[in-house]
């Protein structure tokens, strides 16, 4: 259960990052999800990405909705505040939290039911507002916690464990995020940690609305033949456009890769993303191109993964609202209250 704490002791030789934190400092409680759940791999990737970036764990706010995926923030960054909020409403809670204190890192964790069904509206509107966040959907195409109903990302024609065929069209959250103006859009697979970890790291460093759709097979209810979110299916149909590395405060190590296939993208905060291109023609700065590319591959039954789009100079909601640099939650009466002299003038104008 979630109240089972992990033992604190660890190997004395455990590697430390720039801030002196070990991997263990980024872990949370023991997962209560099913053994082998894709979500646990995503949790591991989040831990890895935060460790790699040398983030102070307590400076992250983890916010989720309701569902299996939304339980996972308890399993990483144990020294961060977490908020397991209301089904489908993570985006609004995160937006509010972000407005209150722009200095923290906001990690929104959601699922396909949480974001594509009940919370489709909030997903859309938080993206279009450009909230500075990393929005991860742990997408298994199924309602796991209520035992196997289809979600809105389940492909048409796919079969449930009970043998029912889905007749509704699927929502592709990546396509929607691109359309709505997300400034960092990626897809990955929970089983592909080498691709996922740098994607999460790059998303965290990105200022603006970062969205990552992570296909994450549900081993209990959606990992059978006929499912299009199973380990086997995704591995067979995965078409990666690129692999990337995130370089913070280090020289770009591009020498490992053949010239012409590496593209370095410098983000707003100075960090660099080195993209090892697999598809030589793919341009991650072309929103329209990304949309077309995605649609073309979807028609062929291929699941495109990698960094699909990034706008390194994106603005976020705080810039749109022109808010002060100081977090709003630290302001007190001396700066917020206009005082009695002003009130007297207001009174005078109302006579």
């Amino acid at each position: 259960m979630t109240y089972i704490a992990k033992p604190k002791f660890h190997h004395p030789g455990l590697k430390k990052n720039e801030l002196g934190y070990t991997h263990r400092d980024y872990e949370g409680k023991i997962s209560t999800l099913c053994a082998g759940c894709g979500h646990d791999s995503i949790t591991a990737s989040i831990i890895e990405a935060c460790y790699e970036l040398s983030i102070e764990p307590h400076r992250v706010a983890k916010i989720s909705g309701i569902g299996c995926s939304s339980k996972t923030p308890d399993y990483f960054l144990g020294n961060s505040h977490g908020f397991n909020s209301v089904h489908g409403r993570m985006p609004s809670v995160l937006t509010g939290a972000n407005l209150a204190n722009r200095d923290l890192i906001y990690l929104g964790v959601s699922g396909d039911g949480d974001s594509a069904s009940i919370g489709f509206g909030q997903f859309a509107h938080s993206i279009r507002r450009g909230v500075n966040m990393t929005y991860i959907v742990e997408n298994n195409g199924v309602y796991g916690l209520t035992k196997g109903q289809f979600s809105a990302t389940a492909d048409r024609g796919s079969k449930s464990k009970k043998g029912v065929t889905n007749t509704d069209n699927a929502i592709d959250l990546v396509a929607i995020a691109l359309q709505l103006g997300a400034t960092f859009v990626a897809r990955s697979f929970s089983g592909d940690k080498t691709q996922l970890v740098p994607l999460i790291a790059a998303a965290i460093r990105h200022k603006g609305a970062s969205f990552i759709d992570v296909i994450s097979p549900c081993i209990a209810f959606n990992n059978h033949a006929g499912s299009t979110k199973s380990f086997d299916y995704v591995r067979e149909h995965n078409d990666a456009v690129n692999r990337l590395d995130v370089l913070v405060g280090r020289d770009p190590i591009a020498v490992d890769y053949a010239p012409g296939t590496v593209q370095v993208v410098e983000q707003h905060d100075g960090s660099k993303i080195a993209l090892r291109k697999i598809d030589a023609d793919y341009d991650p700065h072309d929103r329209l191109g990304a949309q077309t590319f995605l649609a073309r591959h979807a028609a062929k039954g291929q699941i495109v993964t990698g960094l699909l789009y990034v706008d390194p100079d994106a603005e976020d909601l705080h810039e749109h609202l022109n808010t002060v640099e100081t977090p709003l939650n630290t302001l007190e009466a001396d700066t917020l209250c206009p005082g009695s002299a002003v009130l007297d003038k207001i009174n005078a104008s109302l006579r």
Partner: protein, 615 residues
């Protein structure tokens, strides 16, 4: 022709303007009300408008009241009938002996009038058409022309109206002079062609004092500015939208850093009420003062989050500008109909703090106080306004602020306190008042973090489905609600001159009508002690008041006497002793209505004993 003597009254009458909405009449009508105020005579204006933008009937009613009765009076002494659509109803609504003012450009058949009223025809269209060629100008200046004619008929000082025009069009000389010109066009026509003044007159007085004239929504928004709200999330809904709009306007004036020009606030128009309350809860969880403004349908949508706020103990301020329900109801009509919906909002066992301001001055005070209460109690605070207070200009005492006041940020454990080794349990009742400490996210690298959830958990915020742990937490929430009793504004009691067994309880916008009704009831020989409830949970003085009286009338503006239900439920008293007096047709309650309802009941109680009658 009139067979009824024309009404004769100085500084005590009701003028109602019947207009078509979208015709630009609102500003001329408001100027009429303000002009009377400038004579030192209190007025109480009310907008009666449809849920529509252009073309439907709208009314603006001005009660001129030297005595300062600010509730609606009922009845119309003078009708300014500018809307052919509603003519028949408008003419029928005039008190016998009253006056009908109309545009006489086109002749009307005599059947369209009444014998018992004075009819005043002014050829407004003819005057405007001969003066202006632009159709837009014709429309707008027609309103100012009737204002001018009325000023002559009611013996108003034109200088005071000119002054108001001067203030309104300061720096726009062309508009200023053309408005003054239009005013005199109407005034001069009336002076030359009609017998001026009428029996209804405005006479200079000194009854306004230092009072201000403001809409409740604007005052509440200003309260949010003074109370330190930094995050506002809202979704447009009548009659609450003007709260967020006023907050935006006030913030633009008072909340920008003078050096950088940057905003010390964030306002988001949400995609719906769910997102609005979600943003408020996210911001409050993270330590900002946040609020939303909405009305009944919005409250219905927000209830899941309100339950989270209650159970996970996250501050939130919700301003509910009530309108007539249920469902879409009457969106532009007033009621006090969300008392139960707000007091017990959301599934499971919940209770919420409600504040009931009586006018804009209290709306300002309570709005500011709501943020202190929300952070102190770590729960949702409802500011219960209604359309009558929110969207009408109301004369009220000036707004006051004590510069020595610091915000009460509640129990927040800081990094220093954690460092000192203080025991942090997010749901641990350390002080016995049911209120635990919280930490803001990002406070300390290794101490004070916790996982917020809507599921049950123990005192240290660890997930638990143990029955005893759950019950322990629910009991603490009851304790916390008891603590709230002494923190919220107390009821105000006013006793009758002579001791009486009868009392009356009322709240919110009913206040001015109730105050006036007391006078009417006293004139009928009925003595009543009054208790104005200003908040829920009820202070212990409510129970004492109930104990001290045989019968207590509960006056409210909804069908099901919701406050009475709440009192019965929370105090466990015999419902028979609480007599419901309800008014719920969407118009503001009047003194006449209250006095009749209570008076009739009182007369009924005073049945002559049988033995006495036969002896």
């Amino acid at each position: 022709m009139s067979d009824k003597k024309p009404i004769s009254s100085v500084n005590d009458f009701v003028v109602r303007f019947a207009n078509v909405n979208g015709s630009g009449s609102a500003s001329a009508n408001e100027m009429f009300a303000r002009a009377i105020l400038r004579h030192g005579v209190p007025v109480s204006p009310r907008n009666i408008f449809p849920s529509n933008i252009q073309g439907l009937p709208t009314w603006y009613e001005v009660r001129v009241t030297e005595e300062g009765h600010l509730g609606a009076r009922g009845g119309v002494d003078m009708m300014v009938a500018m809307n052919p659509q509603t003519w028949d109803k408008d003419v029928a609504g005039i008190e016998p002996g009253g006056y009908l003012f109309y545009d006489s450009t086109k002749p009307m058949p005599s059947t369209k009038f009444r014998d018992d009223i004075t009819v005043i025809g002014v050829p407004l269209t003819a005057i405007t058409n001969s003066t202006y060629t632009d159709p837009r100008q014709r429309q707008l200046f027609k309103n100012i022309i009737y204002l001018g004619a009325l000023s002559a008929l009611l013996d108003m000082d034109p200088k005071l109206i000119e002054q108001l025009i001067g203030e309104q069009y300061k720096g726009k000389e062309k508009l200023l002079s053309s408005n003054v010109h239009a005013l005199h066009l109407g005034r001069d026509w009336a002076l030359q062609n009609l017998k001026c003044p009428l029996g209804l007159r405005v006479k200079k007085s000194d009854k306004v004092g230092d009072r201000i004239f403001i809409e409740g929504n604007s005052a509440a928004a200003l309260g949010a500015v003074y109370g330190g709200a930094t995050v506002c999330a809202w979704y447009p809904i009548t009659p609450s939208s003007s709260v967020a709009e006023a907050f935006t306007a006030h913030c633009k004036k008072y909340r920008h850093d003078p050096e950088t020009g940057k905003a010390k606030y964030a306002i988001v128009q949400g995609e719906d009420e769910l997102a609005s309350i979600g943003i408020v809860i996210g911001a409050s969880w993270n330590g900002a003062r946040a609020f939303t403004a909405t009305s009944g349908p919005g409250i219905s949508l927000m209830t899941e989050f309100i339950g989270l706020s209650y159970f996970a103990e996250i501050p939130a301020v919700i301003m509910n500008i009530q309108r007539a329900g249920p469902s879409t109801g009457m969106p532009t009509r007033t009621q006090q109909c969300d008392i139960i919906a707000c007091a017990y909002a959301s599934h499971g066992d919940t209770k919420h703090v409600l504040l009931f301001p009586e006018d804009p001055a209290e709306a300002f005070e309570f709005a500011a106080a709501a943020f202190d209460l929300a952070e102190r109690l770590q729960t949702t605070i409802f500011l219960m306004l209604d359309l009558d207070i929110g969207m009408n200009h109301r004369l009220c005492r000036p707004l006051k602020w004590d510069d020595a006041k610091q915000y009460d940020r509640g129990k927040v454990m800081t990094a220093e306190m954690l460092e000192e080794g203080r025991d942090f349990g997010r749901y641990l009742d350390v002080d016995g008042d049911g209120i635990p400490y919280r930490t803001y996210p990002g406070t300390h690298p290794t101490k004070g973090s916790y996982f917020t959830r809507g599921t049950s958990r123990d005192r240290y915020a660890r997930y638990s489905e143990e029955g005893s742990v759950y019950a322990d937490n629910m009991q603490r929430l009851v304790r916390k609600f008891e603590t709230a009793q002494d923190l919220v504004p107390r009821p105000l009691q006013a006793n009758a001159e002579r001791p009486t067994k009868y009392g009356v309880i009322y709240f919110g916008s009913t206040s001015p009508a109730m105050d006036e009704a007391i006078g009417l009831l006293e004139a009928r020989g009925h003595q009543l002690d009054r208790l104005r409830i200003r908040a829920f949970p009820f202070h212990s003085s409510v129970a004492s008041f109930l104990a001290e009286h045989d019968f207590v009338y509960v006056v409210e503006q909804n069908r099901d006497s919701q406050l009475r239900q709440l009192i019965v439920n929370e105090n466990g008293i015999d419902p028979v002793r609480l007599v419901p007096i309800v008014h719920y047709d969407g118009t503001p309650i009047t003194a006449r209505y209250i006095a009749k309802a209570i008076g009739d009941h009182q007369d009924h109680l005073k049945v002559t004993p049988l033995r006495k009658a036969v002896s």
